[in-house]
Symmetry: C2
Subunit: 715 residues, 2 copies
């Protein structure tokens, strides 16, 4: 059967074409989503050795050299043994290499995140929980090994949970949450965190052992305790610290001064560490002067182990805070570099990449990571072009962990504390934000200060929450104190501006144009109404009462009239014609006016009474161009405005509403018989023209004349 | 000395005149402030017996009759003996008479406030704290007298603190705080509170004794406990309740049906109370059927006693919540009546009045008051004109307390619970808000529902705080999802509207006009930037990279050229003229364009490359008319936009900024050499005209022509 044979292939062809078409459409989609999830595939195959290799190598080595001291020093902040800081500088970097979208940031340990993890480990595993079983280690009865093992477990579990939060947020495309952390907030928070870092490291500098505190105000208690213990300062530790500090600061300053002349900054931190280790080893500082040293560093890597899920219940809040703060730092740095070098940093993919780095890291006893400002700047400035630099830096860390780690066992902890201190310089320089913000934006200064105070006093988790809440409240406050203004026309244009600010603008006689500087919603709706009443100078309550009285008097009069008329009708009195002529004349004028009032026809006669009372205002135009949404309260207030002003014979028009506002008004059932859609005007000028067409020609025949004589109402 | 004599009196006269003038100015001020603080002085002297006396008398008697059952019933909610509910219906009314500005509201006990006070008293004075000393009272070992005395003490102290809060807020003119309680929130809260009221009264209906719970979810636990105890129901109490409920509901429905025909509603609550008391007395329900009755009611008034200040520490949160909620209910009712009857209700004075009522009441063992919707409606509808009605109602309460109180000792508590139930009808009818809000405003519906759930689950204090926080967050959310749009011109006008919504509008070729529907601030600034990039279709990153590459290539080429030129200069090759002519021509066209680019003069040559890449867009106009303030983040983003677009040769203009926005931009140091104030335009149209003047005449000589051919860019 030919027909069948003939039709089949064509059908098949169609289907194949369809499939091809579908494939053509879906393959790029699939490809895009795979590349989106694994950005490494999009750039590594196209990696140009010629262009990038040298830069990445130099940069990788420089960053690797920074990773070593920072990793060990920040591990102290996290209250875990220094080697875990090195692990943290290794595994997550590799994961980020695969999933990250920023080419210049250096993932790894960071002071603020480390101190946040430290507050968790110290809270859940205080010294007092680990009474020593054998008195030989001589540390006042604390089983250091068990304590540190448990602390590592806590840090790793928190990190896994934090990573899972980040992955989840990234999957749900919740990258935008970071926008709640405005710049003043982040900077204030960093500065606050830096004070925590300093407070936590002072004990190493002075070689003392203050009590641990947790909860609000713990930093204050800690500082008090440190002051109390100052007489017990270990002179050896203090001397080591002072020497290290002086050397570090001096050489760092030199680095900054000769930035342009040096091919790469002097790795003074590494030099200090090596020198200090040597001095400590040969001077036997630990046993001679009781200077606390890093202690045993296990050689080689550890096998992965699952996190302790039972801990998650007690660390969930901290893990979430770490997730958010870590991401915030990461994305702000990433976006900065992205903008500078012209590539796109995908905020949701960054969240996933950071989450995977943390989750994977957590299985290998790492603690939470983010990008570090100091390292990222070095990575970029020494010529790093891609994340290959990160891999090279992690190789250096790996070599150290595998081969050289044990050499650092005699390193005094005080030196690590000093390295932490000098790295905080940038954060403390943020105090200069205060005068800058004082000049530029006082509200943001307040956010900065409140964040600092909250962070210092309430600690890093609750402090962050409180700061975000305050920061959001400032938005509310700002919209709660709008500037209300009466608009007037700029002569010769269709432009209507604030009469208070611009002297040349002229109010349109009989028309009040009212605008709020911000959107009207429930917290300022009442204010809007009050301001309208005040600015328009129309005492609506009084007018309404007057009208009511008049109405009832009129009714009474009508009744009397009726009665009298009945009597008169009986008596056939002659002078009726006289008085009726008078009232007829009145009503004629009224109806003449009415013909021109197309919209407020029913209230035409009341209009007259309203006018006579209030400088002949006949129209109120509400310029709603600043409104971005409407809520129930706004609809109600607007309805009341329409109802009340109509009652005293004043037309109300809305002008300049955005499309979404009109839609929301419609949905809310705002438009009805008494408020037709025809009271909406695209611009204030349209509304004014309409109003003058309706009312104007009665009082003043010429429209042009009206607009030029407009100052008369101001009397 | 004549001169001295002559001058002295005139000086004196001057001074007298000054003083008179000052007095003239200050006396009305003083008078106004005295009248403002004591509103009674402004209306009582002008009280017209003829107009008001009859209405006030009827209304006062009706309200007084309602006060009696409500006072006793709500006292059970507050967990104090019924007589204190009567006190609460007496003292505060008198104080409010003097200080209040609303003429129609009925101050006194109210279900929601009562249950809030009840939660405090039960939390601080649980049964378990009062083991019975003598077993004769047979109530399972609870010393009721001591417990109740302490509970009254707690309620009174909380009330005094709450009153002080209100006075303080009123003095500081903080009446606006109530605006944070939007209508959907208040209605959701009331409904949530009503469920608490029901849950707390069920025990009286069933005659059971469930355990007390406090803290979050306590209502759930309570309901579970009640269900567990249902088998132990006291049949006597249940029968009494059912009978009372049926009678109350039937007669109330009849009242509603025949509202117009009845001169005043049948006081069925009072009738039920009297009937129930008689039945209970003669049927001896208490001892025969173990039906719990009101018990001893002390005769006469009690002397005032100071509050127990030591309690304030533990009730401060609750007192504040009571202060805010009480005021919110009061002011919303007051404003409603004020608007209806055309008088002004001063929100701050109301706060002071309510605060004084509470403070004074607290000294006389009253608990917190506010206006009750049901009583206020009766007060108004039965003809009440002024607060004299309130005084009359309190006289009725006084007579009851002094003479008739003891008669109610045999009244079953179940009857009072039923009275509470039927009074909640209005609150439960608020569930009808759900379909109404679903239709009109989904965000407000969410606020309603979240408030209800928070109130039900988290109790009345934390629930209120959580609801307010959520309600504020909705404002943030709303401004976080703005509608971004590209504007086009309505042909023949100066109006620029959204191109997506209005088909007739036409984009101006080469000009992108961009607007956000809401103010830009830190939470949506990034979105703004992203939307601008997306909507404008200009990939700025790519263009910047291209430009950089071009620049470096240019440099390299220049260098090569230089080298070659040197070689060529040596070799004196002839064909240089040929190629240089070509490039000269190019640069000539470039400089021709430059002459017309007045503002972006320095970037003129780059402008060409930008244009060729992106459909010849030469200007971006940001319509900032919806912005109501700017923060640091916004300034930064705007600066970046200016910098980046300038770099690729696109001019950026700002249009329609409000005065305050321009001010804030200036203060923030936004305007500088590269961003002159001349890039600000009053309207979009001005900016478009300027842009076309600068760029337009090169491509298309006629401006009118451009505006009519404007659809060409859409290709």
């Amino acid at each position: 059967p030919m027909t069948w044979r003939g039709s089949r292939p064509s059908f098949a062809v169609h289907r194949v074409e369809d499939i091809v078409c579908v494939l053509r459409c879906s393959v790029p989609k699939l490809k895009r989503s795979v590349l989106g999830f694994l950005p490494v595939l999009s750039w590594l195959p196209r990696y140009s050795l010629r262009d990038n290799a040298l830069g990445d190598l130099t940069s990788g080595i420089s960053v690797g050299i920074m990773h070593l001291p920072q990793g060990m020093a920040y591990a102290l902040l996290a209250s875990v043994p220094p080697v875990f800081g090195l692990y943290t500088s290794f595994y997550p970097v590799l994961v980020y290499f695969i999933f990250g979208t920023s080419r210049h940031i250096s993932i790894g340990t960071f002071a603020v995140i480390s101190i946040m993890i430290g507050s968790v480990t110290e809270k859940l595993a205080p010294d007092s929980n680990f009474p020593s079983l054998n008195e030989t280690n001589g540390t006042g009865g604390v089983d250091l090994a068990a304590r540190d093992a448990y602390r590592v477990q806590i840090a790793a579990s928190t990190t896994v949970l934090c990573g899972l939060f980040q992955i989840l947020l990234g999957m749900m495309r919740f990258g935008f949450v970071v926008t709640y952390l405005s710049e003043p907030l982040v900077r204030g928070y960093m500065t606050g965190a830096a004070t925590h870092v300093v407070a936590s490291q002072l004990k190493y500098v002075f070689g003392i052992d203050p009590a641990r505190f947790s909860g609000p105000l713990s930093q204050v208690y800690l500082l008090i305790d440190i002051c109390r213990l100052l007489p017990e300062t270990n002179i050896g530790a203090l001397v080591v610290s002072l020497v290290a500090l002086v050397v570090l600061i001096t050489v760092k300053e030199l680095n900054t001064c000769y930035e342009k002349k040096l091919p790469m900054p002097i790795p003074i931190e590494l030099i200090v560490i090596i020198a200090a280790t040597l001095i400590s080893y040969y001077g036997d500082l630990n046993s001679q002067y009781n200077v606390s040293v890093v202690g045993e560093i296990p050689q080689g890597l550890k096998p992965p182990s699952p996190p302790d899920i039972s801990l998650w219940g007690s660390v969930v809040g901290d893990a979430f805070a770490v997730a958010i703060v870590g991401y915030a730092i990461n994305i702000s740095l990433g976006k900065t570099f992205g903008l500078k070098h012209g590539y796109k940093v995908d905020s949701n993919q960054e969240l996933v990449a950071l989450g995977l780095s943390n989750t994977a890291g957590g299985f290998f006893q790492c603690y939470a990571v983010t990008s570090s400002l100091s390292r990222s700047l070095i990575q970029e400035s020494t010529g790093g072009k891609t994340q290959v630099a990160g891999v090279i830096s992690s190789v250096i860390v790996l070599v150290t962990v595998l081969q050289l780690g044990t050499l650092f066992e005699e390193l005094p902890k005080a030196v690590l504390a000093c390295i932490v201190f000098v790295n905080l310089k940038g954060m403390f320089r943020q105090f200069l934000d205060i005068p800058a913000l004082w000049k530029s934006n006082k509200v943001d200064l307040m956010v900065w200060l409140v964040t600092l105070v909250c962070t210092v006093l309430l600690n890093l988790d609750i402090g962050l929450a409180a700061s975000i809440a305050f920061s959001l409240l400032t938005v509310i406050f700002r919209s709660q104190l709008p500037r209300y203004s009466i608009l007037g026309r700029v002569p010769g244009t269709e432009l209507y501006l604030d009469t208070d600010t611009y002297e040349e603008v002229k109010e349109i006689p009989g028309v009040i144009i009212f605008r709020s500087s911000t959107t009207m919603y429930y917290t300022n709706a009442e204010l809007y109404l009050d301001a309208l009443l005040e600015k328009s100078g129309i005492d609506i309550g009084k007018l309404l009462m007057k009208k009511k009285k008049k109405d009832s008097e009129q009714k009474r009069a009508d009744k009397k009239e009726e009665k009298r008329a009945k009597i008169k009708a009986k008596n056939q009195v002659k002078h009726i014609t006289l008085c009726s002529t008078g009232s007829d004349q009145d009503s004629e004028i009224g109806s003449y006016g009415d013909n021109h009032i197309t919209q407020a026809a029913s209230t035409g006669s009341e209009s007259e009474s309203g006018k006579s009372a209030d400088n002949s205002t006949h129209t109120i135009i509400l310029d709603l161009s600043t409104a971005s949404f409407v809520d129930t309260v706004t609809v109600k207030i607007l309805k009341n405005i329409f109802r009340d002003y109509k009652e005293i014979g004043i037309d109300v028009y809305l002008a300049g509403c955005q499309v979404c506002v009109v839609e929301q008004l419609s949905i809310a059932g705002f438009f009805c018989e008494s408020i037709p859609k025809s009271c909406l005007f695209a611009t204030v000028h349209d509304a004014v023209l309409h109003s003058l067409r309706v009312h104007g020609d009665k009082d003043r025949p010429q429209y042009e004349c009206v607009l030029d004589m407009s100052s008369t109402t101001k009397m």
